[in-house]
């Protein structure tokens, strides 16, 4: 008697394409997925609990360890939340805000660059992978110039940034910005325009608008599903209301759209940095803030448009030097919640690509 049997496959925790230590138990019918169950927490470090035993300032470097490919934006999100809690948002010097925008958008380009690269690797385009990393590294060179480190910057401070931009930074930035459009064109040439890649991604794992909102998608993933929203434009924080930029929106919400939205966003980031370079004023980079940070009793929920979605910080303060409760709303953690639903009926090869297209970073999922 012949009979068929479902195959249970452990995708992870150490698997080439789970982008870290993430495990997904798949039930396979042939090579088509009938059921997927996420198992998280292999990288759980208890950062929310750690925050309760660190002072507000001491917690800044830990944010770089969340989404370790976009550390600058994480720090910014945290610093912005505490500034709101302290009520010093208005006092931050303009130059500091401009610097934040410049380094933040650079970080976004770096993060999307690594997204493109890992996406390319997951469809086995090894050369495209190297091109993505090549350009990301040049962005990191600039961030290293500013903060002294490539990934865990610790550059943002309450009321400003740690130091002014170093000499020669603007020249190098200008050179890089002149180079980047050609690089993005190259991405389109080698991967995005490639017929094999299109066949692999167009129409694969579509997420409808309703589903995206229901599952709490944010950021580029939501925009790929046809929801026109961007915190930088809708609720402008910092000095984003002074810049002109488009918000790329795609309608189908499939894997291809999720890639294209990010590539378009890289172009928009270049535009924003150009405008910030022109408009940056002279002046101090730090507001006058007390040495010991003691926010008043209360709570705040503040969000920032991270490279992966809305990074939210809910901070409850009891008036002491340490947060009473600090909650990190991480976009990747919520985005990955859709994966079991998304993977149903997909081919194993497509599931890997769909997972990559969600742009997960395990440091932020497990915290």
């Amino acid at each position: 008697m012949l009979k068929t049997q479902e195959l249970t496959l452990n995708l992870g925790p150490h698997h080439p394409s789970t982008h870290g230590v993430f495990r997904c138990v798949l039930n396979l019918e042939g090579e088509y997925i009938t059921k997927a169950v996420n198992h998280l927490g292999y990288l759980h470090r208890g950062i929310e609990k750690l925050a309760e035993s660190r002072t507000y300032t001491q917690f800044i470097p830990y944010n770089g360890r969340l989404d370790y490919v976009a550390g600058m934006l994480n720090e910014w999100a945290y610093v912005m939340a505490v500034e709101k809690l302290m009520g010093i948002t208005e006092e931050i010097p303009e130059r500091a805000e401009y610097i934040r925008v410049i380094v933040g958008e650079l970080q976004r380009i770096a993060s999307h660059g690594i997204y493109f690269a890992s996406m390319a690797l997951d469809v086995a385009g090894a050369s495209a992978w190297f091109y993505g990393f090549r350009d990301r590294d040049e962005v990191l060179d600039l961030l290293e110039m500013v903060s002294g480190q490539r990934l865990m910057h610790n550059y943002m401070r309450f009321g400003g940034v740690a130091a002014d931009l170093p000499d020669g930074f603007m020249n190098k930035l200008d050179k890089l910005l002149n180079k980047l459009p050609a690089a993005i064109e190259e991405y389109e040439g080698i991967l995005l325009g490639n017929e094999i890649f299109r066949a692999r991604t167009v129409g694969v794992a579509p997420v409808s608008r309703e589903m995206a909102l229901d599952y709490g998608f944010t950021g580029p993933n939501l925009r790929a599903s046809g929801v026109d929203t961007d915190l930088r434009r809708d609720e402008p924080y910092s000095v984003y209301d002074r810049f002109k930029f488009n918000v790329p929106v795609r309608q189908n919400g499939d894997t291809f759209d999720r890639v294209i939205v990010r590539i378009e966003e890289m172009k928009e980031s270049i535009k924003i940095i150009r405008q910030a370079m022109e408009g940056i004023p002279e002046g101090p980079v730090m507001a006058k803030v007390p040495k010991v940070i003691k926010p008043p009793v209360g709570e705040v929920y503040s969000r920032l448009e991270n490279a992966k979605g809305h990074l939210g910080f809910h901070i409850v303060s009891d008036g002491s030097t340490k947060p009473y409760r600090l909650r990190i709303y991480s976009p990747c953690f919520v985005n990955i919640g859709i994966f079991p639903e998304m993977a149903k009926g997909l081919h194993l090869m497509d599931a890997v690509v769909a997972l990559a297209s969600l742009d997960i970073v395990l440091g932020e999922i497990d915290r």
């Binding site: 001491q58 830990y62 865990m152 170093p166 991967l191 325009g193 094999i196």
Partner: protein
């Protein structure tokens, strides 16, 4: 036309095939590090006033300072240890230092054969250099008392 993207991809890789390569040949070619680079730590011992701000600012408590009062009732440093294996390289200690005694170096090759060697003892490994302001040698009895404690 179908197949255009395929040919475009081939032309891009072929272009890079003959291009100059960008890999840095690391041990021979040293990386150019920016001034703010956070490598290892160094302490200019004569400048240190043992105030302990660096230790307080450290998120992971990886700086241990030993000090004692001298005859003028001034604090004097007798030991300075950094547990580099726990260090976040955040730089709060360097920022906190009021006398600019604690500084980053550009030394990034911190690999060691044994775990204990990772940690730094900045006090005893200090080598006086001519550009420091006259190094005050710790008195003999101080060393003895430090060893005793």
């Amino acid at each position: 036309m179908y197949g255009q993207g395929l040919i475009k991809g081939l032309s891009i890789t072929l272009k890079h095939f003959f291009e100059r390569k960008i890999t840095q040949q690391y041990p021979e070619e040293r990386p150019v590090l920016p001034d703010r680079f956070k490598g290892s730590l160094t302490l200019k011992v004569p400048k240190c006033i043992a105030c302990g701000l660096c230790a307080n600012s450290c998120p992971n408590n990886c700086i241990k300072i030993e000090s004692e009062k001298d005859e003028n009732n001034k604090k004097r440093l007798t030991g300075y240890k950094v547990m580099l294996e726990r260090c976040l390289f955040c730089g709060f200690c360097v920022e906190a230092c009021p006398t600019k005694a604690l500084l980053w170096t550009k030394d990034f090759e911190l690999t060691k054969y044994f775990r204990e060697d990772v940690n730094l003892d900045l006090f005893s490994s200090y080598v006086p250099s001519p550009d420091d302001e006259k190094p005050a040698k710790p008195a003999k009895e101080d060393e003895e008392s430090a060893q005793a404690s």
